[in-house]
Amino acid sequence: MTIDHASAVFDVVAELLTQLTGDTDVLGIEITPDTTFHEDLQLESIDLVTFASILAEHFGADVNLAEYLAEKDLDDVIGLTVGDIARFVGERTCPR
């Protein structure tokens, strides 16, 4: 995965997240790779399910966030960051 690809994917993931959070300025935070899904964005696990659908719709069925998370431990899911999601999406969409 090139730096350009990773950076472009992160920007798209952050933009797609606003479909869940609305304007993150309201929360007073800027989305960075370290922003946590649950604690910083105040989202719930059920929002991860919705976000999985949003990602699959945008990037295609190969980007299966639920499948990725099914291999994680609970603490990893609780501490999931936007950077984790962007890295996963980047690897699945990496141009060959």
Partner: protein, 255 residues
């Protein structure tokens, strides 16, 4: 989609298979996410159609003030399967209250259930109702005290504080705590007459720890799997092992 009059969040993972698993989550802080983010992907990858949905009052499904008897939950599942056109018997996989719902559904609709996997669950007998009444009443009292949230955060972290807030909001804004234990309750004869295979997965320190053998011995086709040293959160803490148990179970009990 609208199920039994309520806007209901449904997630389908069609696999084009010959078997269907319906995941039924637990009460309070739970939602379809606990299954969707653990068991649903590998089950679908095994060629099994997956249906999961947020129970009434939970997740992204509508939350009416009233309507939380087991009869309401059974009617929801029945209407959901009817609307989805599922005409073959299904495997019900329930976590905690979801397993209780699975038993009640199987008693009401025996021909529609191929098998049951219940995780830290028991059927809705008078014993269950008494236990649920006490747990829910204690939970309501506990969550009405602000210091309880500080204690939860100190012992389990900020994430669990937020979950407790969510549970408090759900419980206090509805009649859930009062109505759920009302049943309709099952007699032991009704439970013993459940004809489909039942796998009961328990933690040795879970909610059924005091009665690990009795329930399973009652069921004519019951099996028991106990995780030693495990509390009530079997699904999230042992999800890889539970996944293997469920996959083997469905394979064994396929049509």
């Amino acid at each position: 989609m609208t199920v039994n009059g309520l806007r209901t969040n449904v997630q389908l993972v069609p696999a084009g298979g010959t078997e269907t698993v319906v995941f039924l989550h637990g009460m309070g802080t739970d939602s379809l996410a606990s299954f969707y983010l653990t068991l649903a992907p590998p089950v679908a990858a095994a060629g099994i159609d997956v249906i999961s949905y947020d129970l009434r009052g939970h997740g992204k499904t509508e939350r009416p003030e009233r309507g939380y008897t087991l009869g309401d939950f059974v009617a929801d599942l029945d209407d959901l399967l009817r609307q989805l056109g599922v005409d073959r018997p299904v495997h019900l996989v329930g976590n905690s209250f979801g397993g209780t719902l699975a038993y009640s559904y199987a008693v009401a609709n025996p021909s529609r259930v191929r098998s049951i996997v219940c995780i830290e669950s028991e059927p809705a007998t008078e014993v269950w109702a008494e236990k649920m009444s006490q747990i829910l009443a204690h939970t309501v009292r506990f969550l009405q005290v602000e210091e309880s949230f500080d204690w939860i955060e100190a012992n389990f972290g900020a994430h669990h504080r937020r979950l407790a807030r969510m549970a408090a909001e759900r419980i206090t804004s509805t009649k859930m705590a009062e109505e759920v234990p009302l049943g309709p309750l099952l007699t032991w004869e009704q439970v013993a007459a459940i004809g489909c295979p039942v796998l009961s997965i328990l933690g040795s320190h879970g909610y059924q720890a005091d009665d690990l053998e009795a329930l399973t011995s009652l069921l004519p086709h019951g099996e028991l799997h106990v995780f030693e040293g495990q509390g009530h959160s079997v699904l999230v803490e042992q999800h890889r092992e539970v996944r293997e148990l469920v996959l083997k179970w469905v394979e064994r009990h396929a049509a």
